[in-house]
């Protein structure tokens, strides 16, 4: 109980840190904190394997990727001073929508009809959530989704390579050229074709 509230507070604080930090590097670091605190929550929920994966893959590999990209692009990052500049009405609407979503989920969680815990789960079946049961589930009934993730990763690899490598040696081809060819501002759609048609001439030999 105490653990939950402490870790939950840390997760929320870190999440706010992610989106509030002016420097993107700080955002990444806050994200690492957030992910680690979630890993702790996973552990308390008997999802040991997921907790480890969370730390290894997410907090480790993915965050390193973020830092690499940051170092590649640091010179071109958006000016920090304008980080919170908004299109007209964006802030108000965004906060309103976020508040509605949060309120609705909270109301749903509070008054919603959550079924009672399944027999044997809350009672703490000792095996639940171990790596063994997880593996049996993953390679048993969920084998096909697992294979699907492999395909998704392959696609992502190919896509990432094609996107980031393909345009260097072929300057002028691809996105910029296409965009440059666009008109500066979209001309209104031509509706002159909608003019009434000429009545068809009478005729025929009948």
């Amino acid at each position: 109980m105490i653990t939950f509230f402490i870790v939950a507070a840390a997760a929320v604080a870190a999440a706010i840190g992610v989106i509030a930090a002016r420097n993107a590097v700080h955002s990444v670091l806050w994200l690492v904190v957030h992910l680690c605190s979630l890993a702790v929550l996973y552990m308390t929920l008997h999802a040991e394997f997921l907790g480890l994966v969370q730390i290894l893959i997410y907090a480790g590999a993915v965050m390193i990727l973020f830092l690499f990209v940051l170092s590649l692009l640091s010179a071109r990052s958006a000016p920090n001073a304008a980080a919170w500049e908004q299109p007209r009405g964006q802030t108000g609407l965004a906060i309103a929508a976020a508040a509605v979503v949060a309120a609705l989920v909270l109301v749903g969680a509070a008054v919603g009809n959550i079924a009672a815990p399944t027999q044997g789960a809350a009672g703490g079946a000792a095996a639940f959530g171990t790596v063994q049961t997880f593996g049996q589930a993953l390679f048993g009934p969920y084998l096909l989704p697992f294979e699907g993730t492999a395909l998704a990763l392959l696609t992502a690899i190919v896509g990432a390579v094609a996107l980031s490598a393909g345009h260097d040696d072929a300057a002028g081809r691809g996105l910029p050229a296409t965009v440059a060819a666009e008109p500066a501002d979209g001309a209104p759609i031509d509706v002159s074709h909608a003019a009434p048609a000429e009545p068809v001439a009478t005729g025929g030999d009948r």
């Binding site: 299109p87 964006q90 609407l93 976020a98 509605v100 979503v101 109301v107 909608a194 009478t202």
Partner: protein, 613 residues
């Protein structure tokens, strides 16, 4: 097999670009093979079990049904997809493919003047027509019959309008199609009535014992079905009051006239009424309407034939008249007689058309008999062929037409009503008169035309004519066989009357026209002749009653609706769409965060809906 071969021929001819010789080979060959497989089917069996046609010679055997599956099932109504073979079908299949093959061979020579593309198109249309006709007679349910029925109408439209650069041909094709559509509507309504009241539309259900009992229990239903079926038959067979298309259909090539408008398509109505005997047996009123209108057509068309100058139109009126005999016969229950008349008529009328085709070929497509004459010596084959056909048509014993036509009249004398018999007897008097008038004016006397006479007939034009001439002479044997197979006896009394009538008609023609002198024909030129030639003003009646009002409505719609209301509605729609698009385009700000906001708001709405629901 019989059915698929012509269809395959049509597909090959229409899809592939073949050399001319191959086109002809495929066109005629597929029909020949179909004929042979039809023979095989009749002699050995059409389906799983042998069809006992040859063995017993009994045409009243129950049919063999070859179920191919269910076409569609809606509620309790099930429409099977299958073929139905019995004696009636066998007769029609053999006539369609047999005479059809001869006409295809004839066409090889007759259409030789066309370009390669037109040649292929011609044979493709002809094969498609034969396929549709075979489907019509082989179908085992009324909806499937309707497919063939409409296909026949459509292909005849193609063939009548074959020379689509001639306005007259196009108008004639359109007219034929429209009037045929009236018949299709009749058939569709009849099918709907069967489905609604009998709950079945296949032959077994409607025409079998169960259907007969249901029809007998509801005479009104039987009458309505019978009348609607007669509307269909009248349109297809050019009977009153839907006869107007047939004489115009002569704008098509002559072999087409021989195939469609003499041998096969116009007999589809006869087939339909013969097939639905159970309906007409249950409703004497419908049978009387159909039979009397058929007899009236037989008489009226014969009178028009007497006054015709155009030799092809004359044959068309003759066809109407003869089909009137058949319809009248089958409607009044003389099925064997009517169907045997279909057979002999296919022989001699196709022969007459072929002979006329030979004549037209020789006199540069002239069709007016007043500019013919004296052709007997120049065109001996056409002359003897026409003579054989004329004798058969006139009902002179022992030629083919005598046996069947007399059987129809004999059947009416016994089982039908005397009104119809009297009309048919009068027509039997007129028939030899008009056909021998045509014979003497065409082949006797001196040549009256301006152009040269070029007799040229290739072999493919000649030998079908010879075969059909032989059949016209001795084909009566088929008629007698058919009738005995159906258990109908010949009637000597009726035969004597018919013979006398035919001889009187021939004698009258001989006494007036034997010299082949056109001056003897002066009496047809007056106002009376003109009135009769216009089919008694029928065309004007249609024009006044239907065409003009339709034109008026169309003109009003064109002005008020197409001219003003519709463009206004169009403009309003276009303006509304443009305004809407302009408004929506503001949303497409291009800012990815705006799009994300839209998604987020959508998620909020979804949640709200999920909670409130």
């Amino acid at each position: 097999m019989t059915l698929l071969l012509p269809l395959a021929g049509a597909l090959i001819l229409s899809l592939l670009r073949l050399p001319r010789r191959v086109q002809g080979l495929v066109g005629a060959g597929s029909i020949l093979l179909a004929f042979l497989s039809g023979l095989l089917m009749v002699s050995s069996g059409g389906g799983p079990g042998p069809y006992p046609f040859a063995a017993h010679g009994a045409l009243s055997q129950p049919g063999v049904e070859v179920q191919l599956g269910t076409w569609l099932a809606a509620g309790t109504l099930r429409i099977p997809l299958g073929l139905w073979v019995d004696g009636l079908t066998a007769v029609f299949v053999l006539v369609i493919t047999g005479v059809g093959f001869l006409i295809h061979v004839y066409s090889l020579g007759y259409m030789a003047g066309e370009s390669d593309a037109d040649y292929g198109r011609y044979f493709a249309s002809m094969n498609l027509f034969v396929a549709a006709m075979l489907l019509l007679v082989l179908a085992d349910s009324f909806p499937l019959l309707l497919v063939g029925w409409a296909g026949v109408g459509f292909t005849s439209y193609l063939l009548i309008g074959f020379w689509y650069t001639r306005p007259a041909a196009v108008v004639a094709a359109r007219k034929a199609f429209i009037l045929n559509t009236v018949g299709d509507v009749g058939l569709i309504l009849a099918i709907a009535l069967m489905a609604a009241r009998l709950g079945t539309v296949d032959f077994t259900g409607v025409l079998g014992p169960a259907g007969a009992a249901a029809l007998a229990a509801h005479p009104a239903v039987a009458t309505w079905i019978g009348l609607l079926l007669f509307v269909a038959a009248a349109a297809k067979s050019a009977q009153l009051p839907l006869q107007a298309w047939l004489s115009d259909a002569m704008e098509g090539p002559t072999p087409v006239s021989a195939l469609i408008h003499a041998a096969t398509m116009v007999t589809a109505g006869v087939y339909l009424i013969a097939r639905t005997q159970a309906v007409y047996a249950a409703s004497p009123a419908a049978a009387a309407w159909a039979g009397d209108l058929g007899a009236l057509t037989a008489f009226a068309a014969a009178t028009v034939g007497v006054f015709s100058y155009d030799i092809k139109r004359l044959l068309a009126y003759s066809t109407m008249s003869q089909v009137g005999y058949m319809i009248s016969g089958v409607a009044f229950g003389a099925v064997a007689a009517g169907v045997s008349h279909v057979v002999t008529h296919a022989f001699f009328k196709a022969l007459l058309f072929m002979a006329v085709g030979l004549v037209m070929h020789a006199v540069s497509d002239e069709r007016d008999m007043r500019r013919m004459g004296g052709l007997a010596r120049r065109l001996p084959l056409a002359r003897w062929g026409f003579l054989a056909g004329a004798l058969a048509l006139a009902g002179i014993p022992p030629f083919a037409g005598f046996w069947s036509k007399d059987a129809v009249m004999g059947g009416l004398l016994h089982g039908g009503d005397l009104f119809a018999y009297a009309l048919l007897a009068l027509a039997a008097l007129l028939t030899p008169f008009y056909i021998f008038r045509a014979y003497y004016l065409t082949f006797g006397g001196k040549y009256r035309g301006e152009g040269e006479v070029h007799p040229h007939a290739s072999r493919s034009l000649q030998w079908p004519t010879v075969v059909l001439a032989v059949l016209a002479v001795v084909g009566g044997i088929f008629a007698v066989l058919l009738q005995s197979g159906w258990g109908t006896a010949l009637d000597p009394g009726s035969m004597a009357i018919s013979t006398v009538l035919a001889l009187i008609g021939w004698g009258a023609a001989w006494s007036i026209y034997r010299g082949g002198d056109i001056r003897a024909d002066a009496w047809t030129a007056g106002a009376l002749g003109a009135a009769v030639r216009s089919e008694y003003g029928w065309e004007g009646l249609w024009q006044g009653a239907l065409v003009r009002p339709a034109h008026g409505v169309a003109a009003w719609l064109l002005g008020a609706w197409e001219g003003r209301a519709w463009p206004a509605a169009q403009s309003a729609t276009a303006a509304g769409a443009a305004a809407l698009g302009h408004g929506l385009s503001l949303w497409q700000s291009g800012l990815v965060r705006r799009y994300a906001l839209s998604m987020f708001c959508g998620a909020a709405l979804l949640l709200l809906w999920a909670l409130v629901r």
